[in-house]
């Protein structure tokens, strides 16, 4: 299954949310990494035929997805960023309802609901009302509904948002399991979400795909180096102003800093191995450091 984006553009009035994106994806996990407002959700909503592009095309197996219409949505699964549901429905009713919307025959639907509830760990909660689920369980129900039709294209918009670290790791593994034999497009602004499970990472900023490649390729693409150095507490603000600082650890007499820079920031600085997080910081500046990302 090949999904090809051709000069895909979406404008809201004068504002360009997605800017001439061209991309080809086949099976595997694609991690769409970008800061808030980069255009990830807009891109994904177009891929899910919920928004019509202002320009460009999305082709699935060479055919326009808006022309394929129902035939395309038949192989699509989508977990939206702000995933809503029917609070009065039980988990089982909800999943059966989405199965009906996806055109599953009742007998098949029942089987799929049972299998998926097992798979995402919701078996015990099938008869609970949706409004009584915890945030993590809701996300699981969200994944389950996206998987009901065994989609060839699975779009997950920030599936790990709001989850605690344990839950996030479990979720990552779950997605990894589900990614076999299908195209998974996963968006996040948390580097560690995609660092290990994505076969290909797409860095998105201001509506454009800035860089793409495996984690290693992206790290290699960074023209600057990562340094570790010590500094007095009083020197820290000046350093932060001058360099991109990806981490600060307070110590008894001062601080240990992780700095991204082309030149050696201080005489005692030692070069460090770059990580994907540093790449993220390099391309997205200070904005890229999100407290929640530093786990």
């Amino acid at each position: 299954m090949e999904l090809r984006l051709n000069n895909l553009t979406k404008q809201f009035g004068d504002f360009t949310a997605v800017d001439h994106v061209s991309l080809t994806m086949s099976s595997g996990v694609y991690g769409l990494l970008g800061v808030n407002g980069a255009g990830k959700t807009t891109l994904m909503r177009m891929i899910c035929t919920l928004l019509r592009p202002t320009g460009g095309q999305i082709l699935c197996g060479g055919r326009d997805i808006f022309k394929l219409d129902g035939d395309y949505r038949k192989i699509l699964g989508y977990l939206p960023q702000d995933f809503g549901f029917y609070p009065e429905f039980t988990v089982k009713d909800y999943l059966l309802y989405v199965s009906a919307l996806k055109g599953l025959r009742p007998a098949v639907a029942k089987r799929r609901v049972r299998e998926l509830a097992e798979g995402v760990g919701l078996s015990k909660h099938l008869n609970k009302k949706m409004k009584k689920l915890s945030g993590g369980m809701k996300r699981r129900a969200g994944i389950a509904q996206a998987m009901l039709n065994d989609p060839k294209i699975l779009v997950l918009d920030e599936p790990t948002a709001g989850l605690d670290p344990n839950e996030r790791i479990r979720f990552r593994n779950l997605i990894s399991e589900l990614s076999e034999d299908r195209l998974v497009l996963l968006s996040t602004h948390i580097v560690s979400d995609v660092e290990y499970i994505a076969n290909e990472i797409l860095l998105m900023g201001e509506g454009k795909i800035l860089h793409q490649g495996t984690a290693d390729e992206l790290i290699d693409s960074m023209p600057e180096r990562v340094w570790k150095c010590r500094a007095e507490k009083s020197e820290v603000p000046a350093l932060m102003k001058k360099y991109r600082v990806s981490n600060i650890r307070s110590e008894a007499h001062g601080a240990e800093l992780r700095i991204i820079s082309g030149e050696k920031p201080s005489t005692d600085a030692v070069p460090e191995e770059a990580a994907l997080e540093d790449v993220f910081l390099y391309y997205f500046g200070e904005k890229g450091v999100d407290d929640s990302a530093l786990i």
């Binding site: 919920l50 019509r52 808006f66 129902g70 949505r73 699509l76 995933f83 919307l101 996806k102 509904q145």
Partner: protein, 407 residues
């Protein structure tokens, strides 16, 4: 899918409350209507409700039959006899009531005399008292004659076209005389409150159907819904189906219950009498029976509800706002009554959808339209016009939801 749509609607607390309110409204309206029927005993005391209806039926049945000149003469004489009695002329209220008690049997026919012999645009409750038995022969002729006189009067000169005037006179003359009379209080009371009942149904059902389309958006379940294979076609059809089903089941269920209660409590007789025998019906140009008037009222009410509530659903689909949609029935029902004083608008107001919900009063008005030289009364126009508009609105709603990506 339809079942899930219904489940969504009926699962909401607001909607359960709305349905309970409708039930309460039904009970209150029926109680008021039945309680409003009263009978005065020969001793001057009065009773009301079902027992009163049984007594009234008994005394009115004595006057059952064709209202011929002889019958009218007898009524005028009987009325006069009561008027001459010491109880009638007494200053004591109880004694007056005792006198009235003896008029109840022919009170409906006396009422027709009042209407026939008063001036066309006025009503005089005591007109029958000043009639003499010789006047009885002029009774039926008076009806068309008063109409002619009224239409020829200076103030009416430009109100109707010549064709419309001919149409009215023709219909007046087409009424078969003598008319047949029997006790019909069950139907009359039923029809008196039909409009109120229909209006309450529409306003309350508005709450139930307004949330059907905006539901996914307010819950943020729209992305999953519309990115599914069938959300945009079968799903939307299920929504429309659920809306129409709710409107129909609530409407017919409530109306049947209401009709059943009223006819059970007040009696089923008299449905085949012409509406001219009823209070205020004398001047209607529609030559139909009470039962036919009832059918027109409930059919009109149904077409009207379907139109108004489909419009509310269309607006809810377009704006994705349930609140806005809930106001639609209120606007459609109440704005015209504010404008009713504006004379140039009369013709337009007569064709607004609120008219469909009050056919039983429209039937008593001279609401006529001339199209290409042909005169048509408003009721059939309303029925056809709004049935057609429903046929347009419903697919339109479908299109709005079907092409979600272009919003």
């Amino acid at each position: 899918m339809l079942l899930y749509e219904l489940k969504k609607v009926l699962g909401k607390t607001v909607n359960k409350v709305a349905l309970l309110l409708l039930l309460a409204a039904l009970v209150i309206v029926s109680t008021l209507a039945i309680g409003g029927v009263s009978y005065t005993e020969p001793d001057g005391s009065s009773i009301s409700g079902m027992a009163a209806a049984r007594q009234l039926e008994k005394v009115k049945k004595q006057w059952e039959g064709y209202i011929t000149e002889d019958v009218l003469r007898a009524v005028i004489e009987a009325n006069d006899a009561v008027n001459q009695s010491p109880e009638y002329q007494s200053d004591d209220v109880t004694e007056n009531n005792m006198a009235y008690s003896r008029k109840q049997g022919f009170s409906d026919i006396r009422e027709m005399l009042n209407q026939a012999f008063s001036d066309f645009q006025t009503y005089d409750y005591f007109r029958a008292d000043s009639l003499s038995p010789e006047d009885a022969g002029a009774f039926y002729g008076k009806r068309a004659a008063s109409l002619r006189e009224w239409l020829d009067s200076e103030e009416m000169k430009d109100q109707f076209t010549e064709n419309e005037k001919q149409y009215l006179i023709r219909h007046y003359e087409e009424m078969e005389t003598p008319v047949y009379y029997t006790y019909a209080d069950g139907w009359e009371t039923l029809l008196t409150y039909t409009d109120t009942m229909i209006m309450l149904i529409v306003l309350i059902t508005g709450f139930l159907v307004s949330g059907i389309f905006p539901g996914e958006f307010s819950l943020k379940a729209d992305s999953v819904y519309f990115s599914s294979r069938f959300g945009r076609n079968r799903g939307v059809r299920a929504k429309i189906g659920a809306g129409i089903l709710l409107i129909s089941v609530i409407y017919w269920g409530t109306m049947l219950l209401y009709t059943g209660i009223m006819l059970f409590a007040l009696g089923v007789g008299g449905g085949s009498c012409v509406i001219q025998t009823g209070l205020g019906g004398w001047k209607s140009f529609y030559n139909i029976t009470f039962f036919q008037k009832y059918l027109l009222s409930v059919m009109g009410g149904y077409v009207g509800s379907l139109f108004i509530l489909s419009l509310a659903m269309l607006i809810s689909a377009k704006t994705r706002s349930a609140v806005l949609a809930v106001t639609v029935p209120f606007i459609v029902l109440f704005i015209p009554s504010f404008l009713s004083g504006v004379n140039p608008l009369t013709k337009v107001l007569g064709l607004l959808p609120d008219q469909l919900l009050q056919i039983s009063s429209v039937i008593n008005q001279f609401s006529l339209y001339e199209l290409g030289g042909k005169v048509i009364s408003s009721v059939p126009i309303l029925l056809v016009l709004y049935s057609c508009l429903c046929v347009i609105i419903i697919p339109w709603t479908y299109q709005i939801c079907h092409r979600i990506q272009d919003r």
